[in-house]
């Protein structure tokens, strides 16, 4: 009997397998840690984060540190050629173009960031309420969204500009008014899918108030989509600001769009004044877009290994 059993053990010896192939050999990784790890493991992410960080640092630091003023008219520097002193030359007011360009970046980033934050917040709250409430409230909110989405944002910008005067806050306000619609639609769609999940039913049957269900259980679960739509909203808002400044309907402050507009006029005599702001705007948009893309891939559970 004994020998027979030993013989069986001999026959059915488990196949040796590599540690990594065994399911229980995989370390437990939380979703968030996995996202961060996958996001940072993409080589291009590091490169573009560094570039973006440099651009932002320049926007913040150069206007403060630069010894050359960019207000008033500096007679001796008017239309100065690029030199050791004026790296990108000076414009028709005698302002150092290098300093002015980064000053313009401040406007672009300010508008892009605040417009994206506000429109995401409003979009999330309205979309979540619409999706969770359902019925008439949902119908009504969605019809309003449908109508607003077909109003060209130029009209809103025009009206807001004429009422509030032109400043970057006007542009932010106008962009928020038109920008929250897409986020609201997106979040509503997510909530519609999520609200039939068991954990929602569990919370509801335990008598948790609708607001708590919404903000504790539902909205956090849409966060992935919201983050991605936020990263796409930032370059979108920066683009709109640049576009409005370019066609002369901007904030009236120095921005990359307004610099490109003036650069267009002097492009034969001072090509740098067109090329530099165009290049830095394009590079910024590229960086943000790429980081947003990588973040979306990292957040996608289907791509999780």
């Amino acid at each position: 009997m004994q020998t027979q059993k030993d013989g069986l053990d001999e026959l059915f010896r488990p196949e040796p397998c590599a540690e990594a192939e065994r399911m229980d050999a995989l370390p437990q990784v939380s979703y968030a840690a996995d996202v961060v790890k996958r996001f940072l493991n993409t080589p291009s992410v590091i490169v573009f984060s560094v570039i973006l960080a440099i651009i932002i640092a320049c926007c913040v630091l150069v206007p403060i540190l630069s010894p050359r003023p960019i207000t008033g008219i500096i007679d001796e520097a008017i239309n100065h050629k690029p030199s050791a002193e004026y790296w990108l030359g000076a414009d028709k007011f005698g302002h150092d173009f290098f300093t002015k360009m980064w000053k313009g970046g401040q406007t672009s980033f300010k508008v892009g960031f605040f417009a994206a934050v506000l429109q995401t917040l409003i979009g999330v709250v309205v979309g979540a309420i619409s999706g969770y409430a359902g019925g008439r409230i949902d119908q009504f909110i969605m019809r309003v969204v449908d109508v607003f989405i077909s109003i060209p944002y130029m009209v809103i910008v025009l009206v807001v500009r004429l009422i509030m005067g032109s400043s970057s806050y006007t542009i932010i306000f106008a962009l928020v008014v038109t920008g929250w619609l897409n986020t609201a639609r997106l979040v509503r769609g997510q909530i519609l899918q999520l609200k039939n999940e068991d954990y929602v039913l569990a919370a509801q049957s335990m008598g948790v108030s609708p607001a708590t269900v919404l903000f504790r259980h539902l909205i956090p679960n849409t966060l992935g989509v919201v983050i991605v739509s936020f990263t796409l909203a930032v370059p979108q808002a920066m683009f709109s600001e640049a576009f409005l400044s370019f066609i002369g309907m901007g904030s009236g402050e120095v921005s990359w769009g307004s610099l490109i507009r003036t650069g267009m006029e002097v492009r034969f005599r001072h090509p740098w004044q067109l090329i530099a702001p165009s290049a830095v705007l394009a590079l910024t948009m590229l960086c943000i877009q790429l980081l947003g893309d990588s973040l979306r891939d990292a957040l996608d559970p289907k791509l999780r290994k």
Partner: protein, 310 residues
Amino acid sequence: MLKYVVRRVITAAITVFVLATVTFFLLKLVPNGLFADPNITAEARAKLYAHYGLDKPVFEQYLVYLRNLAHLDLGESIANPGRKITTMILDPATGNGLPQSMRLGLCALVFSVPMGIALGTLSGLNRGRALDKALIGLSLVGISIPSFVVATMSVTVFGNILGWLPTTGFSTPKEMILPTVCLSLNPIATIARLMRTSLVETENADYVKTARSKGLKRSRIVVRHQVRNALLPVVTILGPITASLLCGTFVVESIFNIKGLGCYYVESISDRDYGLVMGLTVLFGTFLVVANLTVDILYGLIDPRIRLKR
């Protein structure tokens, strides 16, 4: 299907009506900038107000506006006295305005849709290879670089410095190249990215596995099964793409000095020509609504699953 179409058409009509109303009252909110020139005497101003019907109460103005709109009469332009806005928009005599913009938009659409689909398919079929990576990089660049940067750069390089192509106008084929390409880059990149993703997703679909196990040729699987199914999301994005083309025409028209609607819109806003702003807004809005409606109905026709569900 018919019920679905009827419901969508009614919603679209209501949307256009609300849009017209909202635009009217929004523009009435604007502080009185009309004829604010101090050189105009009070008497002349009163006459101008009476001429444009601005002396009546706002609600009466609104009713007149709605009645005129129903007759496709948008009133008279303030910046160009004596010219009807409808004739400015349609302009059969010079071919400016709407016909010009439509040609530009159609050229860009006809160029970008097949191009985007082809590049996306090429990229998706070569997934992970060098060609795919190059195309992904290119489309990322195409999406992130603003159209007005592309337009100003290409005008300067190809028009002014190299002198290969004319920089203004949109009538001869040679004049049409630069504006069309500048307007198309963004849609091409958007379509290509979407097409690639949805093509890659079909790779593991059951119907493709079935087709493979039947022993079908790869080319036939790709054309008959994968591309046809991958096209569905591309159809849905045609609505937003049309909208972005519309926005793009503003830039391209003002840079290339094409007298289309985008150019008029920008001008009318800086001229504070509210009648024209109102007319163009309603026109653009209606256009967007109709474009989205068409896409939705098309989608129902192409994808039987949606038709049956509704």
